[in-house]
């Protein structure tokens, strides 16, 4: 059962465009929502994260928008560059047993064309 639903599966934009990746969740126990970026042959790397008491967070060209009532959050990449071509995963974290668990979306493959 996928606890975090991510769309679209793939995305192609031109350089300078603003790709938007959307995620939705049901479990209100989630209390931390990170986005990870993964390049081929590498592990995921934290890009940006948000807590549910904040509606928007911006770090450089990356912005998370968070809608707590709709249980949705999204990643916007401003002025996208070919170097942003990667797979992006949204995730949601909550307390489980002795620790914390991250539930990942299925990922979005982004291609930024020159």
């Amino acid at each position: 059962q996928q606890q975090v639903k991510q769309s679209p599966q793939s995305l192609i934009v031109q350089k300078g465009g603003i790709p938007i990746i959307n995620c939705a969740y049901e479990n209100t126990a989630f209390d931390y929502f990170p986005w990870y970026q993964q390049f081929p042959g590498k592990g995921p790397a934290l890009l940006i994260a948000i807590r549910p008491d904040v509606s928007e967070k911006k770090e450089g060209r990356f912005t998370i928008s968070f809608n707590k009532s709709a249980k949705q959050f999204s990643l916007h990449i401003m002025d996208s560059q070919p170097g942003d071509s990667a797979t992006y995963f949204c995730a949601a974290s909550m307390r489980v047993n002795s620790g914390y668990a991250l539930n990942f979306g299925k990922g979005t493959s982004l291609l930024v064309t020159p």
């Binding site: 209390d31 931390y32 592990g43 995921p44 994260a49 807590r51 914390y100």
Partner: protein, 114 residues
Amino acid sequence: NAGVTQTPKFRILKIGQSMTLQCTQDMNHNYMYWYRQDPGMGLKLIYYSVGAGITDKGEVPNGYNVSRSTTEDFPLRLELAAPSQTSVYFCASSYPETGIQPQHFGDGTRLSIL
């Protein structure tokens, strides 16, 4: 700092064989995790550990075992390898305090079971 180091990077096993995937981190993180990543499916948590001597099951633990004798090392053991265990395995670690700490991932072990 090397961060999270996984060995081997690639391995081919025959059905029924066993092997241990190694993971070590030099960041003095108490929390460590094992995930598997299947194409188009995101990352699924196999096992995690909140400190030496403490391990707990994640979402997909069947067919795997772990141990945590030191803070640095968190090996994942496959007994009786099956084709369904063909996947890319990622180890991660984080500083514990709360669930909002980022997880640092290794570059993965690509495992094929034939």
